[in-house]
């Protein structure tokens, strides 16, 4: 079936019940999106479908109707990083880094809908994303930093 991923139409030959996560990782070769739990409990697999955050481990290929955006597409073709990525670097967020693709995609979706999120908004949007290294305080700081960057841009 044809799925639009990161601006390109990709033909995926797979069982329609296959979760999007595995099509991205094992078939489309996009390994930036991570497997963490398989039951939408940890958020490591978060991608955007038409701008909305979705747990790709629990979204069957047959249910994907919009355009998929993964971490690989956040960086522009010119190499410029997304404001959220820049904020992540500024705040030195990542430790092991495994959950960070999902964290960043959730943050991108939050900021697209809410340009000045409060701490409570951040709690609501980000509590589905688990981080075993405990980078939460810096994620919170980075989201506020990114909001400022986006406001200035």
């Amino acid at each position: 079936m044809d799925i639009k991923i990161n601006g390109k139409t990709v033909s995926i030959e797979a069982d329609p019940e296959m979760p999007l996560l595995w099509a991205l990782r094992d078939i489309a070769g996009l390994t930036g999106t991570k497997f963490g739990c398989g039951i939408a409990m940890c958020g490591a697999c978060t991608v955007l479908i038409d701008g909305e955050p979705v747990r790709s481990c629990s979204t069957a290929l047959e249910d994907v109707s919009g355009e998929v955006t993964t971490i690989e597409a956040l960086q522009g073709d010119d190499g410029a990083l997304h404001a959220v990525q820049e904020a992540w670097i500024e705040q030195q967020v990542a430790q092991c880094g495994y959950c960070q693709s999902g964290q960043i995609m959730s943050a991108v979706a939050l900021l697209a809908n809410n340009s000045t999120p409060s701490d409570a908004d951040i709690d609501d949007a980000m509590s589905g994303n688990l981080c075993r290294c405990g980078t939460y305080p810096r994620i919170r700081a980075a989201i506020h930093t990114a909001a400022k960057k986006l406001a200035e841009a």
Partner: protein, 753 residues
């Protein structure tokens, strides 16, 4: 000369360290440099840690696992500091599995002496452990030891390479080396105002004599060390480009998963794979004796087909329920015996005499899973009888040793490529996931195969933090000074771990990790006994972030809190009083006192009540005090703030140390708030984050960290943030609610908001 003679003596009497009897000559002989054979075109190898190419690019070989602790950046900074190059431009590679990368500091940490014990016997034994580390040649990441181990070695590697570059320039220009300097990647001749880039010197420099001695920079002249550095792996980790074990991609590779007997260690007595074999995309089902693997053309197909296999499992080689397991631990505790790791004065007799305020308590801690974000996985391939393994692991040479033993190979026939680790916390010290991939790859006709575990498989096949029971008793004298006895019983992580490693010598003597956090704390008490009681059970247990320091400090520091309250003392002031001979401990406790506003009233109009709790733990050479503030709300206990002061002796990267403390705190609080591994019918009941969760963003407190450098001896960072967090939380809950909780997780008795 004194040093040399002493070492010679020690080697001769090395029986104490596990029967290693090798001469002085061999100890001095360096291990071969594994980089020499594989150097790229135009690339010159200066030593096992530094390569410089003709295009001026410098590659630092990182001998330790990057599992989030920032070791890649600190290793590169240590070399860059002495080599005099731009840190941001340094390239890094993970080291191959090779003896030269052994970790001395990790085994030194394992020596049975308190960090503050500087006696001759303590220093001598640490020295022996270092020698033994070299012979065991364990290239491992653990014990919060990476930076301590690397501090001199990596700086020396950079300084030696710099000296060789200067020598090459001196030859070229026919001037004295002493007249030359370096400046950010160039050798400079100030007298004639000329300079030459390192890249133009590498071919000649690499053949220079390796200097016998080098002079390291005065810390006052440090450009990178002691200052926060941007992590070199940060860009890769925010763009999805960092390659973890699960991201390894190879031509023609297959994807697989394993399902091992959930009653760990027991056999698979039968298997019906017919339904699984019919699934399109399934290549084969492999019988692994204690479980099976399904090999397919993608991971999801392997997962789906694995669910359709009908195995028969043998019974567990350990008690089948949590109740029965803890009954065994309790029986061991009641039977007595064990070993006294600390026995100052005459604590039992003083307590029996009962002159003073007497208190006693019994505490328990559960088994815990590591639950790294990246489930266990590895990729393996066999070609021409040789094995290659790709995995995120904490012990590359152990994989080589294990594979050589299991498959009857020479060590030289096993290659290990280490990737980034999606969390380690001690779990990836084990070789099981790499070995399973190697066994599955035996059956794929030379094709590489990636074996990824489901989250449930990962949770149910861990080497757990052992469950433990501790009984504590004390009497407090008129000055408020307690005499204390702690008796703690648990399985031995050392015995379990070394029992799994082929060819490993289980260290002789008592497993100090059973009592770590109880016997090694800087309290000046005249009567102080700590008894460890190892429990013989076959549940696989291992190294969980902070190991014995993950649960024993909960026992120790909760009990100190109980002692303070029952004798009318402020718990923080009592610690300051009892820690007086240990300035680093006093400095840390005093710092959190100031940071937290300890003793000032807490407003509580908006909640039922608020309270603060304090705890201290010296672990892995770092002295850490924490204060936790909680609020008792309509929704339950909310952790509002944490203040942490940590004395690392020397702080190489303050911002990273802050991150490690926050990480350790959140890891510890996560476990205290609700984590517990339980057993039924011989199998672990929890499978995923719905039954074994961790702290989330909405529960995360504000955390303030102060980095101190007074102790005079460098300590570790990956683990020491965890130990005080659990008792500080329990003590804060007591302060807020009056409820003393003596069992972990605390959620057994209260609700968290």
């Amino acid at each position: 000369m004194g040093k040399l003679l002493r070492r010679t003596f020690l080697i001769g009497s090395a029986a104490v360290a596990g029967g290693v009897a090798v001469g002085f000559y061999m100890y001095k002989t360096p291990y071969p440099n594994p980089l020499t054979a594989d150097a790229g075109k135009g690339e010159s190898v200066f030593n096992p840690f530094v390569k410089i190419a003709a295009d001026n690019s410098v590659t630092v070989i990182v001998p330790r696992a990057e599992m989030g602790q920032g070791v890649v950046t600190t290793m590169a900074a240590l070399v860059a500091e002495e080599l005099d190059i731009e840190l941001a431009e340094v390239k890094t590679e993970f080291a191959p599995a090779a003896n030269v990368y052994y970790n001395r500091a990790m085994l030194e940490e394992g020596a049975p002496f308190q960090v503050f014990d500087n006696s001759f016997i303590a220093e001598m034994t640490r020295d022996i452990q270092g020698v033994v580390a070299k012979f065991l040649a364990m290239q491992a990441t653990g014990g919060s030891s990476s930076t301590v181990d690397a501090f001199d070695r990596m700086r020396t590697s950079g300084a030696a390479a710099r000296a060789m570059l200067i020598a090459a320039a001196a030859d070229k220009w026919q001037v004295a080396a002493a007249s030359l300097k370096t400046e950010n990647g160039k050798v400079v001749d100030p007298a004639l105002g000329r300079s030459i880039a390192y890249g133009d010197l590498v071919a000649a420099a690499a053949t220079q004599q390796v200097p016998e001695t080098v002079t390291l920079k005065d810390p006052a002249d440090w450009r990178y060390l002691g200052k926060s550095q941007p992590r070199l792996d940060m860009v890769a980790k925010v763009t999805g480009k960092a390659r973890f074990g699960v991201d390894v991609r190879l031509p023609d590779m297959l994807f697989a998963t394993v399902r091992m007997n959930p009653r760990q260690g027991a056999k698979m007595t039968g298997i019906d794979a017919s339904a699984a074999e019919k699934i399109p995309g399934v290549v084969k089902v492999v019988n692994l004796d204690t479980g099976y693997a399904v090999v397919a053309d993608n991971t999801w197909t392997a997962f789906k087909a694995a669910d359709l296999v009908k195995p028969q499992w043998a019974k567990a080689p350990y008690p089948e329920t949590t109740e029965a397991i803890f009954a065994s631990i309790d029986a061991a505790l009641k039977a007595g015996g064990g070993f006294n790791m600390r026995n100052d004065g005459d604590a039992p007799d003083v307590i029996a005499a009962g002159t003073g305020k007497a208190i006693s308590a019994r505490y328990t801690a559960p088994y815990l899973a590591h639950a790294t974000m990246e489930p266990m996985n590895a990729t393996a391939q066999w070609t021409g009888g040789k094995l290659t393994v790709w995995s995120g692991n904490q012990a590359p040479t152990s994989i080589v040793t294990q594979a050589a033993s299991v498959f009857g190979l020479y060590a030289s026939d096993v290659t290990v490529h280490s990737t980034y680790l999606g969390g380690g916390f001690g779990r990836r010290f084990e070789t099981d996931f790499s070995m399973l991939a190697a066994r599955v790859a035996k059956e794929t006709g030379g094709k590489p195969v990636q074996v990824t575990w489901t989250r449930e498989e990962d949770m149910r096949h861990d080497m757990y933090r052992p469950g433990a029971i501790c009984e504590a008793a004390a009497v407090v004298d008129g000055q408020g000074v307690p005499s204390v006895v702690f008796r703690t019983a648990s399985q031995s992580p050392i015995a379990s771990t070394f029992g799994r490693l082929a060819g490993a010598i289980t260290p002789p003597g008592n497993d100090k990790t059973v009592v770590d956090g109880l016997w090694d704390q800087p309290y000046a008490l005249a009567n102080y006994r700590v008894t460890g009681i190892p429990v013989d059970l076959d549940i696989p247990v291992g190294f969980w972030r902070a190991v014995g320091h993950s649960h024993n400090p909960f026992f120790h520091e909760s009990f100190m809190d109980e002692i303070a309250h029952s004798s009318g003392q402020d718990p923080l002031e009592m610690r300051l009083k009892l820690m007086q001979p240990y300035p680093a401990a006093v400095a840390a406790v005093q710092a959190v006192k100031d940071m937290s506003g300890w003793g000032t009233p807490l407003p509580a109009e908006d909640v039922k009540s608020r309270g603060r709790g304090v705890a201290f733990c010296l672990s892995f050479g770092t002295w850490v005090a924490q204060v936790v503030q909680v609020a008792d709300t309509e929704d339950g206990i909310r952790i509002e703030k944490v203040w942490c002061a940590a004395d690392f002796g020397t702080a190489l990267d303050p911002k990273n140390l802050e991150a490690q403390m926050m990480s350790g705190i959140i890891f510890g609080l996560s476990s205290a708030m609700g984590q517990e591994i339980t057993f039924a019918d011989g199998a672990v009941e929890q499978g995923n984050f719905d039954s074994y969760d961790a702290m989330r963003m909405n529960q995360t407190p504000e955390i303030q960290v102060r980095v101190l450098q007074t102790s005079g001896k460098m300590g570790g960072a990956g683990e020491p943030g965890t130990p005080p967090s659990l008792p500080a939380l329990a003590n804060a809950i007591f302060a807020a609610t009056g409820k003393r909780i003596r069992q972990l997780p605390l959620s057994k008795e209260i609700t968290f908001a």
